[in-house]
Symmetry: C2
Subunit: 98 residues, 2 copies
């Protein structure tokens, strides 16, 4: 029997990865979600726990879309459906736009 390495983000122990880079990306995404949630909790009054968490995940899972919006094309927020692009399209990983 062979021993296989698994990688896991300590922010979500329900998910393991065989690829370290994927685990790193996932951990970074969860960290972004967490910090967006903490920021919203601090700045916007009256949000409940699930709204705070949902806003953090929404932004983190749609990071590339939000980046486009912040760079001037904010209409994209309303175009792309929001089921999340946490699966980074292959084209986005290997050819980074300058």
């Amino acid at each position: 029997m062979a021993v296989v390495s698994l990688y896991m983000s300590d922010r979500d122990e329900s998910k393991t990865f065989t690829d370290k880079k994927e685990a790193d990306n996932y951990d970074k995404m969860l960290e972004l979600a967490e910090n967006v949630s903490l920021w919203m909790e601090r700045e916007i009054s009256g949000l409940n726990e699930s709204q705070i968490e949902a806003i953090g995940m929404l932004v983190a899972e749609n990071k590339d879309t939000v980046l486009k919006a912040l760079k001037g094309n904010s209409g994209v927020l309303l175009e792309e459906s929001a089921e999340g692009e946490n699966v980074t399209p292959i084209s986005a990983t290997n050819k980074k736009k300058k």
Copy 2:
């Protein structure tokens, strides 16, 4: 008496500018706020009108901070106070980091 040109965003007729570029930036900021608000309203259940508007303005007024956060340094969201950096610091305008 001389005639002076004034510029105004039709998204906020309470504010006029003598500098067109400033008016453009302000209009772009309000457009971003509006689209973030519409996005949140669509994606996050149970938000009231003032929360929806406040989230849009929070993101738009802190655009540069959110950009840094999305690019990997999400801790900045919790450092910089959130009274908004809609006044772009001089250093950020003329020496753009490559």
